[in-house]
């Protein structure tokens, strides 16, 4: 089980990576056989290629992210963060809660994002 400090560091790098906009960098935080479900209920993406494809969207938009809270328990973390995305019609914000599990090497083995379209609102 990775140290809590390792898990916290990967979560911080993940949230920063979304804003930096490099899909390969974000996907590299995942284990090769990892799974991703974002949002929960929308279907599971499995494996590095599918995960890299999922994050290709982050390269197409300008985002700002802020980590609001992280809780580590066992090999898992739950965290609350804010994503502000610049769209042609104005900026929107959403504050998902994500849950991740990690392997011995601190790589993400699963990610599940809890949010729904009704949580997306125009940025203040």
């Amino acid at each position: 089980m990775p140290e809590p400090s390792v898990i916290r560091d990967v979560v911080a790098r993940y949230v920063e990576g979304l804003a930096s906009g490099n899909a390969a960098d974000v996907a590299a935080l995942y284990a090769p056989e990892a799974t991703l479900e974002d949002p929960v209920g929308s279907g599971v993406h499995r494996g590095r290629d599918a995960i890299t494809a999922f994050y290709a969207d982050v390269e197409r938009v300008r985002m700002r992210t802020d980590l609001l809270a992280v809780r580590v328990a066992g090999d898992s973390a739950a965290f609350h963060f804010r994503v502000r995305t610049e769209l042609p019609d104005g900026a929107v914000e959403v504050e998902p809660i994500d849950v991740m599990t990690f392997d011995e090497d601190g790589r993400i083995t699963s990610m599940r994002a809890f949010w729904s379209p009704e949580d997306v609102h125009p940025a203040a």
Copy 2:
């Protein structure tokens, strides 16, 4: 799958129930065969009797709770909340992130709480 409004209502009743201090009322929000893991990694309690026993602690202490954020996705919810507990040596606070799943009738089928002892701090 229950309506998001039903899930939100059960989450609110759960958080209020912790503060009201009646273990049977809190346990009644769960399905009979539900599971509870609090914190994640500490072992799973299964079934209404085990769950009622787990919440017996809430009857022994005075707590105040505040719901900070709820995100509903599919048949699941993740939520961030604050628990202030009055102890003989002073009040302590912790702000866990919990994840719950729900059955058709809006009963909790699983609860997993993400926090660790290092997240517990003296109340302001």
